[in-house]
């Protein structure tokens, strides 16, 4: 990389000069294009120009002079130099020429020209655009070049220099600009203004959601609960209103349950249920408070009714909890129903194969497992589950019922000699009354 001389570096690092860009296409500098072409093809040998103190003032877009700013094109320029194999001097020379005469025109630029300058990262001034018409032209121009950064920049200016009623009104007809404005307000945390904007747009549900979202920033559970309560009247959709109500109720109850557990110190406080989902809370309840009366907040029945939990979900959760505790008796009761004749029958809204899976995961004894495998409706599924979990009796009985001799023979080999199951197969195979199919 060929480097500029040290004094050149200082020159360039001083606050006065805005760096040169390749992409400049201002009419006044058409000479530049020629220089660029010359520079690109051959090394131009020019005498050193006198230093031009042209008194250019570097002005920011808010009108204040600023500290030194190095911007993109210059640093890329240096790097590209190494690729382009050109002498840095030539470029610096060209830069000096370029800067001559720049600067004071800022106030004469049209909205389109201003946006062009913004695109190229050059100094610009928005303050001169004071009429509403000009401001909107500026905004529309920024939208037309697709640049979100510019759109937001113009919006920041409009936010400062227009009343919100007027700004909102104009944004209603410009959905790209509107989206950028909403995003800007979100990022800046301007909750109040956002809510007003949503209201003005008639986006009441979005407004409600935005306000509700704030609860995530509240760490203290008591404060969060109170905040959720305050959200209850917001214009959510019907479904969401119910969900938010549930959210409040849930947290309120979790706080109470936690407090009780603390007071009575009955249960090991391994994990807090605060802010846990409903199902997790139900699981906790089935684990620690199973069988409690419906009157207490901590009872599974209460939670089930309050949050309208489906039978399927309830059984799944209760099963998980009681199986973990190896309470096979409780598991059994979950599935007992009395049919119309008064007989107890086993019924499950979740497939019994699923029940078996869960029991097996919790190391249920074989006799318990077998009971539920037997309840599986589909014979194919029953067989495959029995095979998977080595429920020998069921396998044997199934093959017997299918009159499948060959499978029995194969299966026998998997068993231990002299085990009861082995002997059972032997007996069956020796039974002359059975008409085997193979």
């Amino acid at each position: 990389v060929s480097r500029a001389k040290p004094e050149d570096d200082e020159y360039w690092n001083s606050s006065k000069f805005k760096a040169f860009t390749f992409d400049d296409d201002d009419d006044e500098f058409s000479r530049l294009k020629e220089s660029k072409r010359a520079v690109n093809s051959i090394l131009v040998d020019d005498d050193d120009d006198e230093e031009e103190e042209d008194g250019v003032e570097r002005v920011s877009w808010s009108g204040e002079p600023v500290g030194s700013v190095q911007s993109f094109p210059y640093s890329l320029l240096l790097s590209l130099l190494s690729v382009l194999h050109l002498d840095a001097h030539q470029f610096l020379f060209v830069c000096r020429h370029l800067l001559v005469g720049e600067g004071n025109r800022l106030h004469d630029l049209s909205p389109e020209e201003t946006v062009r300058r913004m695109q190229k990262g050059r100094a610009f001034s928005l303050e001169k655009f004071r009429s509403l018409q000009d401001k909107l032209l500026l905004l529309d121009e920024a939208v037309a070049v697709y640049d979100g950064n510019l759109i937001t920049a113009v919006l920041i200016y409009l936010k400062k220099s227009l009343s919100k009623e007027i700004l909102f009104r104009e944004l209603m007809a410009r959905d790209v600009a509107l989206r950028h404005y909403v995003h800007y307000l979100k990022e800046m945390g301007e909750q109040k203004l956002l809510v007003e904007l949503m209201k003005a747009l008639g986006r009441t549900e979005d407004m409600a959601l935005m306000q509700y979202k704030e609860h995530l920033n509240i760490k203290d559970e008591g404060q969060r609960r109170d905040f959720l309560k305050s959200c209850l009247g917001l214009p959510f959709s019907q479904d969401d209103a119910t969900h938010v109500q549930d959210h409040y109720t849930l947290l309120e109850r979790q706080i109470i349950i936690e407090a009780d557990a603390e007071i009575f110190k009955k249960f090991p406080r391994k994990a807090s249920i605060l802010n846990m989902p409903i199902i997790t809370t139900l699981y906790y309840s089935c684990f620690y408070h199973y069988g409690e009366s419906e009157g207490t907040y901590s009872s599974p029945e209460n939670i089930r009714k309050t949050f309208r939990i489906s039978e399927k979900q309830y059984i799944l959760t209760a099963l998980g909890a009681r199986a973990k505790l190896k309470s096979w008796f409780d598991v059994d009761s979950l599935f007992n129903t009395k049919n119309w004749l008064g007989y107890t029958k086993k019924r499950s809204p979740i497939g019994f194969h699923r029940v078996v899976d869960i029991l097996q995961k919790n190391s249920a004894p074989v006799n318990v497992l077998q009971e539920y495998v037997n309840l599986i409706d589909s014979p194919e599924l029953k067989l495959s589950v029995a095979l998977k979990y080595k429920c020998h009796d069921i396998v044997i009985n199934t093959y017997r019922d299918l009159k499948d001799r060959q499978e029995l023979v194969v299966y026998r080999e998997k068993l231990e000699r002299d085990s009861p199951e082995y002997r059972k197969i032997q007996e069956l195979l020796n039974n002359v009354q059975i008409r085997w199919k193979n």
């Binding site: 390749f22 992409d23 400049d24 296409d25 294009k33 660029k36 072409r37 877009w61 808010s62 204040e64 600023v66 500290g67 030194s68 700013v69 190095q70 911007s71 993109f72 640093s75 890329l76 240096l78 790097s79 590209l80 695109q119 697709y146 640049d147 979100g148 950064n149 510019l150 759109i151 920049a153 920041i156 209603m172 007809a173 410009r174 959905d175 989206r179 950028h180 995003h183 800007y184 990022e187 800046m188 747009l201 008639g202 009441t204 979005d206 959601l209 979202k213 995530l216 479904d239 969900h243 938010v244 549930d246 802010n275 989902p277 409903i278 199902i279 997790t280 399927k312 979900q313 799944l316």
Partner: protein, 577 residues
């Protein structure tokens, strides 16, 4: 894993040049503040920065202490607090904020509002592209998708355009540009604007063609479980910036190891694109070969042994290390995706893609939610259902949403709102004419504005037409036909033969036809916004295509494009967010 190699295929461009450029720029900026300095780095930038300029280089340029800052929105405010505190204490320090890849006016405004504008210097470090591998470039903009597609903020459009400009200035002008999607179109226009006064490089260009595609043109592919090795590693362990962290269960020790995953890893490069069913067999074969190579030592004399240790041992040890890591990762995959669960998940996904037994799929999803299996997977399935079926039936939407909120937390009603906004998870509409709010506001403003209001209200999302597209483009091969995963015949292998990624199919077709002719029906179903431009006259033997996914791409798509490339003798360089 032999594939026919095209003998005259051009090599891939040397992307290390991009790293050098970025590094030089950074060093230049650091040198603006001479003397010892402490560096506070945004957490998201740590890995990319490390690839460009590691700690040694930073220290060479007088960086004293390095701090990682986690929370981005607070970053700027934390900084301004620091500056103001110094002012109050009367302490003088110099401050510089380096924004990368570019500075936003909104940031400057914060500085101004906090009263520190002028007390700090600000710079842009135009670090646009990080090469992650021979054929993968990254924009390293994790917020791209959310900002652009959810919030509708076009701030990254010029960034993407500038990245293209950078590539063109370093590697030569592209001759053809194709694209589809609203953002793709904007990026193209923005880039074209940037190039307007660009010098025409006369050097031989390395990229022939560029294909720009919006993520939301194909939402289905990222929603499907990945089954190619690299995709599985990503799904399970999360590949970040070209590297992954393997925990103790993989390394069989008590330490975690961070590993670079790219073509330098000889073991990885052979299995990365393979369907998982092939991987284990390959790894065990390799292990056997390794054992044989080691066993050569027996029966070696001193001379041979010396030669062995000098030449081969190091390579073998390296291979051994990599092999055991990947075997460990594969085992971990097997365990985590306990066979039955994973098989059922894939079966459900395939059914949804096919449009087969949808009720059973819904039942499966419901149980998946009830069992609290995985927050993300449950949501993925819901979105896949919605996109393939053009929205859920109202009763299903409400019921599944309620159950999801019960299982994973009610605060996720916010998640559902976002997904609806994106068009990822919707209710089937009955076809309303004028909604309540429109009529309310309609009383306040005139008709023209009401029409525009509707646009403003409606999400940025478009209607999905997956089934029709799938049929038209033959994305789902007929079931019942045997699909040999060991010798894949098309890109569908990346999803076990069940589905050809839509995005990749589009790319294949457009490149084959050199444009969109004959695909009018397809583009209509994708809501238009397609374009094909000849930028300059063709030069010969151009076989490298740059595919730019605006909003991210999956490893499955990368593998699929590599497959396509091998078939067609072209190389695809993938650029992602």
């Amino acid at each position: 894993m032999a594939h026919t190699e095209w003998k005259d295929a051009p090599g891939l461009p040397d992307f290390s040049l991009l790293k050098r450029l970025a590094r030089d720029q950074l060093i230049f900026l650091l040198e603006q503040l001479p003397g010892k300095k402490d560096l506070f780095i945004d957490a998201d930038l740590m890995s990319p920065l490390d690839r460009i300029a590691n700690v040694t280089i930073l220290k060479q340029h007088e960086v004293d202490k390095l701090y990682k800052v986690e929370l981005k929105p607070i970053f700027v405010l934390m900084f301004t607090d620091l500056v103001n505190a110094d002012k109050v204490a009367g302490r003088f320090r110099r401050y510089k904020i380096i924004f990368t890849p570019q500075k936003f006016y909104a940031c400057e405004t914060v500085l101004e509002e906090q009263g520190v504008y002028g007390d700090v210097t600000t710079d842009e470090w135009n670090f646009y592209i990080l090469p992650l591998d021979d054929d993968i470039l990254s924009l390293e903009l994790p917020e791209f998708f959310r900002d652009n597609f959810l919030e509708g903020d076009q701030r990254w459009v010029t960034t993407a355009g500038s990245a293209l400009r950078l590539l063109q200035s370093v590697y030569g002008s592209f001759s053809k540009v194709y694209g589809i999607g609203r953002c793709a179109k904007m990026v193209y226009e923005s880039w074209r604007e940037l190039m307007e006064d660009g010098e025409q490089r006369t050097r031989q260009p390395e990229f022939a063609k560029v294909f720009l595609v919006d993520r939301d043109v194909d939402f289905v592919t990222p929603l499907c479980s990945q089954v190619v090795y690299e995709g599985l590693v990503d799904d399970l362990f999360r590949i970040k910036c070209g590297s992954v962290e393997f925990g103790p269960d993989v390394t069989s020790s008590d330490k975690s190891i961070k590993v670079m995953l790219n073509s330098q890893d000889k073991v990885f490069s052979e299995i990365r694109n393979e369907h998982f069913s092939n991987v284990f067999g390959f790894l065990s074969q390799k292990a056997k070969n390794l054992q044989t190579a080691y066993d050569k030592r027996r029966g070696m004399d001193i001379q041979q042994m010396k030669a062995f240790v000098a030449d081969e041992l190091k390579g073998l040890k390296q291979e051994h290390r990599l092999l055991s890591l990947h075997i460990g990762a594969s085992e971990s995959m097997m365990k985590k995706k306990t066979k039955q669960d994973f098989q059922e998940l894939l079966k459900t996904e395939h059914s949804l893609l096919e449009g087969f037994e949808i009720r059973e799929c819904i039942t499966y999803i419901e149980e998946h939610i009830n069992r609290q299996v995985s927050m993300i997977d449950s949501l993925r399935l819901l979105c896949l259902l919605s996109i393939t079926e053009n929205g859920l039936l109202s009763k299903d939407y409400r019921s599944l949403k309620a159950q999801y909120l019960q299982s994973y937390g009610i605060e996720h009603l916010l998640t559902f709102a976002n997904l609806r906004q994106l068009g990822l998870l919707e209710e089937q509409q009955a076809g309303e004419t004028l909604t309540v709010m429109e009529s309310k506001v309609g009383k306040l403003v005139n008709d023209k504005t009401v029409g525009k209001l509707t646009d403003a209200f409606s999400s940025l999302a478009k209607k999905s037409n997956f089934r029709a597209l799938s049929k038209r483009l033959a994305l789902v091969p007929k079931s019942g036909e045997e699909y040999d995963l060991r010798v894949p015949r098309d890109m569908a292998y990346v999803f076990s033969g069940a589905y050809i990624p839509l995005s990749c199919k589009l790319i294949e077709q457009v490149l084959e036809r050199d444009g969109w002719t004959g695909m009018e029906e397809v583009t209509r179903m994708l809501n238009g916004q397609e374009f094909a431009v000849t930028a300059r006259s063709k030069t010969d033997a151009q076989r490298i295509v740059l595919v730019m996914f605006l909003g991210g791409c999956t490893f499955s798509e990368i593998s699929a494009l590599r497959f396509l490339g091998k078939e067609r003798g072209t190389y695809y360089v993938k650029q992602m967010e």
